[in-house]
Symmetry: C2
């Protein structure tokens, strides 16, 4: 019998905040298709990314490993050749893993060269594409992102009459003034204007159709498709009708407090000095951006509606596990910040909806789960779907399937961890910090959020009393705060020292054999005084290892001959 | 001008304790050739291995990385394909890295298969040989070690008339009773008898001659040769004349105290239950073994005398940096232990002598250095010799050359770290510990030695008051001990969280460019409100990135045209 779950559709948005879906409580931004999806599955209300920026967060999704383990700590840092990804884990199980959209992966060219791997070979392409086979890769931000300078999407636009060197920029991500002047969507000032492109030719519908193309062509082999939207990531500009749907009055109220700027933690203060933070802290900027940001999300929801209908027609909704999530959020002016360089909730909490067609998941359809889950849990979930044995020696995360089946897994984590390497940021230069000292780590137990820096005091927030995270208790002398810091500091140490690089031997392999006995059975005799010791011990030996090596049994026979060996020369 | 140091001879013994050389204070075991070597260079008196067992310790030597970073945590754990080794670092500098002897490396066959690397290819062979080109690999312990079941040394023995399936075992590592009965050197009982082989055909002279063969053939290309002796590792048996040189009266007094067995730390107690610990704790065993162990060391010293004379004749002593060290020590009954499964000084302190022919090292010849140095410092030293830029994003260690040149490097480490994954040991099974919880870590600051376990109390020794490490202060409530534990616990956290996997981008690369400015110069405009912002910022831009992409400059020109773009369609 075929398992109920044949395929996986792994949908990721870029820079989508959890609180910008109606099923996550947004009062004005209605996302009925995602809400309907959630009714078929489980909403994870406390899902966190493992890094607040694209590259490292995605590598944690794709490897199931913390940034501390996989090492690709910022957007320009290649994931090292050899790190195992979803594709590597699923391929031996007969599953085709494909990419439609963005990964933000930079290929480890030096590693491939050292290992003699041709970047054009199948292995080389997979190393460059996070282990996926690229059905269509499109990282957006053309042509500047260092990826394909003229991707298929640009060709498509030209074929539709959007001419030019870079129609992505000039059409899909630009607008026109009242007088017809071309204005770039790069400038936040124009975010509330319509992109000069028909909705159907804009990025989100295009990529959605490419996903459908793959589904049409896929055949019977089980597949795991990473449908990875570029939006609502900047440029924050969307075509009509989405450009006109929302005004500033539909945006969530900005979350910032003057208290935050007084005596701010030095690293936070330096982040507030970033251009994007300064800009978003000016009056009117957020108000201008939000209509574009919200319109982009609404467009995604509509496109997912079309996709789910398409899948429904083909019976794919009945055999496809669907994950909907995001690589991180966006400050959008909250906390006097733009972008995503710290650990406040708007940035590190991600939307997560999981729908599993397996009948065992009927128990939880339409429910919400408040377990602390992380991006690293996605890859182990996929492995679990196809019956792969867990690989805790490789993946830091754990399968979410028990939660979907209404079970409460034993020893579930008590805290989530998020890491950020700000070596690449202006704030590092401003602070005069060395790259090696420019990592910060956050641990959050559902109430207390502790942020550890090198050479600076920590930050601490009590989200129970201060859900908006306005009051940094990192220097508070109150006993409760001192105790919370000490406890989470130690928890972070436990996390940091956990072995994550013994990836070539599984815990299962270690536990399945008495290693020392096997060594002795193989003829390596450590701590044996004389023949009698061996004769004794040999009663317990199993001929496992020896059976592969004809020399061993005969040697052991000789060594345990009561009168000693007889074949002395 | 050629640099003074052309080649590297990296000599490693296996299981050689630091205190078993006369230049390290042994009163009876005279090692004049090593003593003479030390007079030409520097003795590091506080050198430590990074793991007390062969495999992980060696991988730290070969990668310059802690076990926590490279992951090959025990003898059967393959170093993952992609980890960079000495050979990988030196090859681009034109240096040939070759192996003569043992590495204890297990090839990462699964990793190679995943990466499409043919194990028979040059790259595949290097992955299997720790990055060295194997001139002659010989791991000893034939044929049971899972390596070559019938290595060249066995062929050699047969050619010399030592016949049989496994002449390594039956001749080089066996003895004969008074009545001519063959007795295996595996049994400790026979360690004080002579191996049934002529000295010149035994392992150490054979491998020494193979090193000479390489030197004869090497030509002008600079080389780094890892001459890696199997001895004085068990089987503890040596041919004449070495078998008769030492009696039990020449051995160092055993270091053990009844106090150690009373209320021993649970993991230590379990280690004392290992067969080898039980055996070595019996009366007479150590006394029988020491003559063999000491004879093997004396034989190595004599062979090194021949090798150094050979090198002297060829001028190689004048242009070759020589490192002499060991992969770990041996309890030999000290602390009621055999083998090497914990962190007492006899096991983790290694002999380290470094001779650098560079004239800058004249300042320190014949001196001793008490800096805290580690196995991970060796690979960075080699890189330094050939002028390679330091790679602190890859290697945890630091070059020892400043010490050799009489300098005191800034910010030298204040403590050494040693790790042990005892998942593969009987003690794990006895304790019912999970593999993931079976790591222990030691940190030693020159006085206090702190050992951290998972789920057990720590251990603590004060080597100033208790140099023999008889008194475990891990549970002491004395303020000084509590404070020492807290301080080293925190130091271990700093060590554990240090980023070690961002190996694809160097600190130097990060510091050499203002990343954010470069992103903007490339046309990715984050946080720009309008054209005026960009016109302003563009004054600061450098055309570096843009110059590689003709689209960028023209786009920036268009975006900063005062009247907006003119090419609106």
């Amino acid at each position: 019998m075929k398992p109920a779950t044949q395929n996986i559709l792994f949908i990721m948005c870029d820079q989508l905040r959890a609180d910008h879906l109606s099923c996550f409580g947004h009062p004005h931004l209605h996302t009925p298709h995602l809400d309907a999806l959630a009714k078929r599955g489980v909403i994870f209300d406390r899902a966190y990314v493992n890094s607040p920026v694209c590259g490292p967060s995605r590598m944690s999704y794709y490897t199931g490993r913390y940034v501390h383990a996989h090492g690709a700590s910022w957007n320009f840092v290649p994931l090292k050749a050899g790190e195992m990804t979803i594709g590597d884990h699923l391929r031996p199980l007969g599953v085709r893993s494909v990419l439609v959209g963005k990964t933000h992966m930079r290929a480890d060219a030096a590693g491939m060269s050292r290992l003699g791997i041709d970047p054009e070979s199948q292995v080389g392409v997979r190393i460059a594409q996070c282990g996926f086979d690229p059905y269509e890769r499109d990282d957006g931000i053309h042509p500047y992102s260092g990826h394909d300078p003229d991707p298929a999407y640009n060709d498509y636009l030209r074929s539709q009459g959007y001419a030019g060197d870079n129609p992505w920029e000039q059409w899909a991500n630009s607008t026109e003034d009242e007088d017809g002047t071309l204005r770039s969507g790069w400038f936040l000032k124009y975010s509330n204007r319509a992109a000069r492109i028909d909705d159907e030719h804009s990025e989100t519908p295009y990529i959605t159709r490419r996903a459908m193309d793959f589904m049409r062509e896929a055949g019977d082999q089980p597949w795991c498709m990473h449908l990875s939207y570029i939006k609502p990531h900047w440029p924050y500009i969307v075509p009509e009708p989405y450009a006109s749907l929302y005004g500033p009055e539909h945006a969530l109220p900005v979350k910032r407090s003057d208290a935050e700027r007084e005596d701010a933690h030095p690293v936070y203060a330096a982040m507030m000095e970033h251009r994007v933070s300064q800009t978003f802290s000016k009056d009117g900027v957020r108000e201008t951006v939000m209509p574009g940001y919200m319109g982009l999300i609404k467009q995604i929801d509509d496109q997912l509606g079309l996709l789910f209908a398409f899948m429904q027609e083909r019976g794919l909704m009945d055999n496809t596990l669907i994950v909907f999530t995001s690589d991180h959020g966006d400050y959008l002016g909250d906390h006097w910040m733009g972008e995503k360089d710290l650990f406040h909730e708007p940035v590190i909490r991600c939307p997560l909806i999981v729908v599993d067609p397996d009948p065992r998941a009927d128990a939880t359809r339409g429910t919400r789960c408040d377990a602390l889950v992380e991006a690293v849990d996605i890859a182990p979930t996929f492995l679990d779907v196809y019956g792969g044995a867990p690989v805790p020696h490789v993946m830091d995360g754990r399968s979410l399937r028990p939660w979907l089946f209404g079970q409460t897994p034993a020893d579930w984590r008590e805290a989530v961890v998020c890491e950020y390497d700000f070596a690449f940021q202006d704030s590092r230069i401003r602070l005069g910090s060395k790259p090696i000292d420019s990592w910060m780590r956050m641990i959050f137990d559902g109430r207390w959020k502790y942020v550890l820096f090198e050479n600076y005091r920590p930050m601490l927030f009590d989200l129970q009393r201060d859900p908006d995270e306005f009051h940094d208790l990192g220097a508070s002398e109150q006993a409760e705060h001192v105790a919370a810091r000490a406890r989470l500091h130690e928890a972070l140490f436990c996390w940091a020292r956990r072995p994550r690089q013994r990836v070539t031997v599984s815990d299962q392999a270690i536990e399945s054999v008495e290693v020392q006995a096997r060594i002795a059975e193989g003829g390596i005799l450590i701590g044996y005084w004389d023949e009698a010791d061996l004769i004794d011990a040999r009663q317990q030996f199993k001929p496992r290892f020896a059976s592969h090596n004809p020399l061993v049994a005969s040697t052991l026979d000789r060594l345990t001959a009561p009168e000693g060996a007889s074949d002395a020369a």
